[in-house]
Symmetry: C2
Subunit: 334 residues, 2 copies
């Protein structure tokens, strides 16, 4: 199993990316190709004593900054690290790619170079979120901000495969994110997606609301990439805001401060429990290749977990199963 | 100052609504007209010893359940408590209305009976959210799920008035909720709203992301009612989910349990700090009348706070100021 890792993408590149790749090479059964400025990556690797031989470096002459336009930069900088990763995947040199760089550029580069799976019209980013019960997969969180009803249906189809083969849950439940549970609620395109899902073979439970994402009521929640992106960023920030507000309250008197000190192990455990980086990267579902997008602020552990997810995608042949699911759904229609 | 309170709306009607009205009549300088089934409301009032004379009851023969269709139910049940409140406002019997009932029905009934302010094309629900710094007004959270660019612009205009006259802040900042800060991000309608706000006299700071809502970076955040509603419900639920997860962690051993006990005053203070009901109801901005929508799960305190907000709207003549702001913006254009 060979994974290309974009060494130049993310807020903490290349340090944390290289450190994560080293961790993965030690803990996981895979070969890693670090892609980016070779002298930079080599000197970064030298900081780690006894780097496993399963890590190699592949040069890329440029990279895409977070503030650049996705489409333009992919088109202009032919040798950017993300596109080079996708090239390696297309040529069969690697089985999967992992990047913590510019999400939009990752979507554009992957779609352009690897193309979409037959029958899939648009890619979607699926992210696993911690909830009160088992994790929920929210798809799409930003690949496609203006989807058609059939795109939501296909997200559900791909999410179903993800749950069955990676999370080992049969007949996972699927909901459409809406502003009310009633069938009559929402915009026209949501009502049409509702109709498509209703007649599908998926375990469709109907509309779910914002509050249902984190109570773990449903396994897969489909939505347009605009709403999904906003939900993701809002929820990431709220945990931090609540933490800061609580800290300020705890500091107000010595007894509550003592309480906080005693309770610290529980706070730490909670932080770990709701930490996205524990869950690894978010797969870009629908492209004809395995592309895992990691959070821009990924540290070494998050990168290692994203590489782990990439390995699972290859091992469980997720794309093969998606193709089968699309075929079955097309056969049903005709 | 006379406020009509929908005695039949909300999960805890009529008990908590009546209790909230009694609290408000005692603490605030206003007369309250409780609207709904008169025998039910009278017997509920009798549970409170020494009910102030400033509370009267006005009969309404029916009410709208949470699971009914907004438009249909308002049209069919002419004598529903929400429509009767709006009738009282239109006839000048009351200065404002407060309801914790079906939000969609409140929007339909108010818009139908009271009409919109001249120059305003769509109403929007604005809700004040607690943040790390000063509260942020999010508008719209569900009145209009498919807005045009000009609607977002008018939300900003109305939010600006709200901040200047009720929160006493000059030149509040306005942002559009988007998936990135760059001007090129988002759907076409958002780009057009961006253009409208850019050339306005408002203190427009550009696009803001989901994470900016709760960090208090911006005073007013405008968005479509679909996204706003999802954000509201996600954020309401996350605080509860984090609380439950933390509780489970704290219970794992006796020392962290002791810590939690000592830290309890800080937890309680935090709960109060982020409790929406402290902030009162959400104004339905844009209708030619004062309509405050309170959370469906409102308790007596939330209802009292919503009545307080209604009084402020009347006192500071918010609608008059919105009309002036619309006029000024129209003069600028021509």
């Amino acid at each position: 199993m060979r994974i290309a890792v974009d060494g130049m993408g993310g807020d903490n590149a290349p340090q944390e990316i290289v450190a994560g790749a080293v961790l993965a090479a030690r803990e996981l059964d895979c070969k890693i190709v670090l892609v980016g400025d070779q002298s930079l990556l080599r000197s970064e690797l030298e900081k780690h004593p006894g780097v496993p031989k399963s890590i190699t470096v592949h040069h890329a002459g440029s990279f895409i900054r977070m503030d650049e336009s996705a489409t333009l930069s992919v088109r202009k900088k032919k040798d950017n690290s993300m596109s080079v990763c996708a090239d390696l995947a297309r040529e069969g040199v690697v089985d999967a790619i992992v990047t913590a760089g510019h999400t939009g550029a990752a979507v554009v580069a992957s779609t352009l170079k690897l193309r979409l799976l037959e029958g899939i019209e648009r890619p979607g980013i699926g992210i696993l979120l911690p909830t009160l019960l088992t994790p929920t997969l929210l798809i799409d969180v930003g690949a496609n901000i203006d989807p058609k009803p059939v795109h939501l249906y296909q997200y559900a189809l791909m999410g179903d495969v993800y749950f069955r083969y990676i999370l080992r849950k049969n007949r996972p439940s699927v909901g459409i994110l809406n502003i009310g549970e009633e069938e009559t609620k929402g915009t026209d395109y949501i009502k049409e997606a509702h109709r498509l899902l209703n007649k599908s073979r998926l375990h469709f439970v109907g509309n779910v609301e914002g509050r249902d994402i984190f109570n773990g009521k449903v396994d897969i929640v489909v939505c347009d990439g605009f709403v999904g992106n906003v939900v993701l960023k809002v929820s990431e920030s709220i945990a931090g805001v609540i933490g800061k507000l609580l800290k300020a309250q705890l500091k107000r008197n010595p007894i509550t401060m003592l309480g906080a000190l005693l309770a610290k192990p529980a706070f730490d455990a909670l932080r770990k429990e709701i930490d996205y980086s524990e869950y690894g990267g978010a797969p870009l579902l629908g492209v004809d290749g395995n592309c895992i997008i990691s959070h821009g602020s990924s540290d070494a552990r998050a990168i290692k977990n994203a590489i782990r997810v990439a390995c699972q995608f290859v091992k469980y042949e997720i794309n093969q199963h998606i193709l089968e699911a699309v075929k079955t759904s097309q056969d049903m229609e005709s």
